[in-house]
Amino acid sequence: MNISNTDIVLSVARLCKYYDGIKALDSVSLQVSRGELFGLIGPDSAGKTTLMRLALGLIKADSGDIRIFGFDPQRQAMRVKELTGYISQRFSLYPDLSIAENLRFFAELYLVPASLRRQREEELMQFSRLSPFRQRRAGQLSGGMKQKLALCCTLIHTPQLIILDEPTTGVDPVSRREFWDILHKLKSDGISILISTPYMDEAQQCDRVALMHSGKIFADAKPDQLPALFQGILLEITGADLLAARKQLTASGISPRQIHYLSDRLRLIIPSKDEEEQVKSILGTDKWSVRLAVPSIEDTFVERISRG
């Protein structure tokens, strides 16, 4: 196969896409290198799915440039199809076919040699824990089991670039961990992965993460570097009856940009030092303790979204 020998697998430059005059992608640029695990995170309608569909050549950009292994997904669609695998958010299986039949169907579709197929099928059945249900029709599987079968079908041929649009939604924690083990294994075989996810623990496992919002990429960094982008102050309140603490703050006119409960504490994102002092004086020191917390990727994400 004549893959150009650059190490850039996916390259996107100043890409724009409009739907009915609304900008879905606003001059997006990014690069994914060979063997890189690249994460896209962002709220709904941030443009992640649009970006993936453009990369696959399923839709056309209004301007800008996109290349997969140097190929234009619009004009060299066949090459791109051979080299990529894709799971869409709403992947549909054949409900009347059994798990085994669905897998076989995809293996044939992607021309997986029979000699390889067995081993691949075994591996995939193992990780997904679907083995005992091989003969069950896809239509009778639970939500998460369907999602796992969809994953298996995409991974049955071994593409060079895998594009995964929220593949683990509805998948339980054990299978999610095993799915990520597979991704890491694929990566160590030199396969590149572009993945979107709403799970921040998955974002943490990527080599690089782009934060998308309203069609733009506003950060593109290693996961550990993201919390540095947090603007404002993250306060953590502990003590009994946090609901009362919250009510007291609201009554005193404190309106944090974001507020949320963890099991035993309340967290607030506030804009400045002044509010921090205010919160401390409102709550006092008897019932509650107030301290600064270190923002996580999730806090950074939420804080960035709250700024609009």
């Binding site: 958010q89 998460g144 054990v174 999610r176 961990r177 409960y261 963890l262 939420v302």
Partner: protein, 246 residues
Amino acid sequence: MDITTDNNLAVSANQLTKHFGSFTAVDRINLNVRNGEIFGFLGANGAGKTTAIRMFCGLLKPTSGEAWVDGLSVNTDSERVKQRIGYMSQRFSLYEDLTVMENLTFFGGVYGLKRHQTDERAEPLLERLELKAWRRRLTRDLPLGFKQRLALGCATLHNPRILFLDEPTGGVDPAARREFWDLIYSLAEAGSTVFVTTHYMDEAEYCHRISIMKDGAIVALDSPSALKSKFNRNSLQEVFFKAVAG
């Protein structure tokens, strides 16, 4: 204890079982959920959570065993059970080609509300769910996080005392998930019982008590902190790994 007369229980199951042919999807489960509790119903994929919830909601007949919801038997009183509860299914069952308001009107009708009752309740509900600006928009055009809030709205319009939420936050981004849990807290604070499934372990931390299911059976049930000390693990994620994968 005579469960049927214990007014403090919102949901209770006694040896509740469901077979599909020779396959056992739900295997003699027992649980009691108190009024006002936020109960997390966790478990592996295919463990039987949705199947159990459908039995609690009066949508699926148990093969054997019994369950009571708001004091009513799901075996003998399934029609009345349906009126007492709100149910949000794993794939939010909204009509994509109806507007936001039309969906509310439709579900109001399903739950036996008169048209004017629906209209009166829809206003403050849309306000609370921050969906006011979207009321005339087609549901299919809503971002996922909004659809999910609308689905919650449709399930709560008739002021049910007990809410069954089957993976209400699947695929929803972290900011929207936090907002959604804020809504769940305010519902519980107002006296509703919330029975919720999730695969997000940080959400499990928000629950008063949780159960973990595997192969149709409940393998752990307690408060998050009690489970952590029982399993000698620091996080619910670790507890889950231990309970499900061994």
